[in-house]
Each structure stands twice: as C-alpha cells, then as structure tokens.
C-alpha cells in the first residue's frame, strides 16, 4: 500500500525534513520517491526506528557507483535521489555518531556551502533580473493596476523566502560552530540584491504616496542602485581577491 503527501521544506530545513521522515518510519511508512521537492510517496512497511539523512550533492548518485556501494557498506540505503538531494536511511545505531553522514566540520561546511551557492545565490539573480524589472515596468503604468500589485505580492513572498533561508543558514552555521567565508563576488551579489529590495520598497512607498513620483527617475532608480552594486562587484573582483 502506498500513500502520497504534500509537504514543503526549505533548503535550510533539511534537518526538520529528516526528523519528519524518521517519524514516518516509526509509523510504518518508508519513503519511496520525492518529486518536485514537495511530493512525497511512501510505501507501507514494518514500523522501524530508522535514522534518515539528507545529502545535497551536485553530482548525481547514479554517476557515482563507488559512493553508492560505500554507503551500503556503512549500512545506509538510498531511498530516493533527485534534483541534487539524496535521501539515505539506516537502522538507528546505539552510537549516535554512526547515524551521521558527516563527522567533521570541513565536510559539513562543504555541504552547506554547496546548498548556499547552487540553490540560494541563484535566487538573488532571479530577484535582480526578473522580479525587480517586472515590478518597475508594471509600476510605470499610471493608476493602480493588478499586475503591479501581483508582482509586488510575489516580490514580497520572494524576499520573505530569501530572508527565511538566510536566517536558516545562520542557524545551521551557528549550530555546528562553522564560519562560511564569502568571496567578493558573492558579497557583491548580495549588495545588488539588497539594492533591489530597497528599490522595490521605495517603489511601493512612492506608489502609495502617488502623484508625480511616477516618472523617469523613479523608474531609473532601481537600475542606478543595481549599477552601483555591479560596479562595486567589479571593483571587488578585480582589485580584491582574484579568486571570485
């Protein structure tokens, strides 16, 4: 017998996801597949105390048969693999250390950094090059319009998600006493994203005040801020660390 659940876990809530899957095992449900990162399919099994661990890796498991066999040697079974996330489970061992995939700071930080670079930073680019221009161009129309409101709402949700995950990363780093060093280009990107957020807030304020604010300079402001951010980024990467 199978059952399918819809649950959404953010990229920094994977430990919560592990606990949920562990609880499902205790109820007798074994994870079979994860689709679109929110549709979980389970198959009925004997209730068992299984430790579940997620691993984010940009290299698909199928292309690493040696890793798969190493995991098996250590007692881990791969439940599902896809979209960069691998789900492993093993009977809970009496010694807690045997229930972990990562046992030193270097490897733990490496995985967190991978998630940060491949899943989080990309979102900043979407904010700067998709959402912000959409907000600007729809807001340029005179009068309240539904499209502008729609994009503002989307921007709001998006910025909230970015902030939530940003805090999530901080919590993870603090939990394991790790420090993630940011390259200048990353810092530059974050400056641009911050400029985009400030611009959107400015546009909302201007819209609410109304009147003569809807003119060329208002529309140009976000681009000016982003331009400054990009300039700062370029200066950083050329005069600062070459290793961007």
């Amino acid at each position: 017998m199978t059952k399918t659940c819809f649950r959404f876990f953010t990229i920094t809530d994977y430990e919560k996801e592990e606990q949920w899957l562990h609880a499902m095992f205790l109820k007798g449900w074994k994870l079979v597949s994860v689709r679109f990162q929110c549709i979980y399919t389970f198959t009925q099994t004997e209730p068992a105390d299984m430790a579940v661990r997620l691993e984010y890796s940009d290299i698909p498991l199928k292309t690493r048969p040696d890793y798969e066999v190493m995991m098996k040697d250590y007692g881990w079974e791969c439940l599902s693999s896809g979209a960069g996330w691998n789900y492993f489970a093993r009977p809970t061992d009496a010694q807690p250390v045997n229930n972990e995939l990562f046992t030193d700071d270097v490897s733990r930080l490496s995985m967190i950094r991978k998630i940060f670079q491949k899943r989080y930073l990309v979102l900043f680019l979407v904010l700067i090059f998709l959402i912000l221009p959409a907000v600007v161009t729809t807001g340029f129309e005179k009068g309240m319009n539904a499209l502008f409101i729609g994009w503002i709402v989307l921007a709001g949700i998006y910025i909230f998600a970015l902030a939530y995950c940003g805090i999530g990363f901080q919590k993870l780093l603090k939990k394991y006493d790790l420090k993630m060093d940011m390259t200048p280009s990353v810092r530059g990107l974050m400056v641009c994203a911050l400029a985009a957020v400030v611009s959107i807030l400015f546009l909302i304020a201007a819209y609410l005040v109304g009147g003569a604010f809807r003119d060329f300079w208002l529309a140009a402001l976000p681009w000016v801020l982003c331009g400054i951010g990009l300039l700062a980024l370029m200066i950083y990467t050329t005069t600062g660390n070459i290793d961007a």
Binding site: E55, P65, D66, Y67, E68, V69, M70, M71, D73, Y74, W76, Q95, V97, N98, E100, L101, F102, T103, D104, D105, V106, S107, S110, M111
Partner: protein, 106 residues
C-alpha cells in the same frame, strides 16, 4: 610541496590524518573507516559523507591515487606527495608530544 597544499594540509584535521595514514596500504573507503576505528580503539568514527569528500579532495590534490576497482569499490593508495605531507604532519605531532611529555614531567 607547493604553498597551496601546505595551506590546506598543514596542519591536518584528525580525520584527514588518519585517512592518509591508513592509505599507506591500499584500501577502499569502508576499509579505511574500519582501520581508523581499530587504530583509535573506536574513538574516531569517520562518516561516509566525510570519507567520500575527503578522498575526492585528496585525490584531486594528488595526495592519494586510485589504484583499482573491485565490485564497484574504488581502492586508493598514498602518493609520494601524500607521503611527504604525512611525514610533515607526523613530525609536527612528534614535536607536540615531546612538549607535552616534558610539561607532564615537571
């Protein structure tokens, strides 16, 4: 030894040291883990994620090399560069131990 290798591997993490030490003999991932457990009398456990990551990095940096594959398991062995790095670390540990011994005798 170039400065980049020195920066990363001197000093080494405990796990990296034991992995490199074990690879003076040809072994595969799980076998290294078992060897480390024996050497440390069960005190040091290296998780598979850490093991795989460390082996990949050491291979890329030229400290170990892939020797053969058997039943999908990859076997590795230390390279001359790896031996150089290991000897440097052993020297550091010996020095550290001597200082500790002298301090204890006081």
């Amino acid at each position: 030894m170039d400065s980049r290798i020195e920066r990363i591997y001197v000093p080494m993490t405990e796990s990296a040291f034991y992995i490199l030490l074990s690879l003076q003999e040809e072994r595969h991932g799980y076998g290294i883990g078992q060897r480390v457990k024996d050497l440390t009398e069960g005190h040091l456990t290296i998780g598979p994620g850490t093991m795989y990551g460390t082996l990949s990095k050491m291979e890329k940096d030229g400290l170990i090399e892939f020797t053969r594959e058997k039943e999908k398991r990859k076997y590795y062995k230390i390279t001359p560069l790896g031996q150089e790095v290991l000897d440097r670390e052993k020297k550091r540990i010996r020095c550290l131990y001597q200082v500790v011994e002298e301090d204890d005798r006081k």
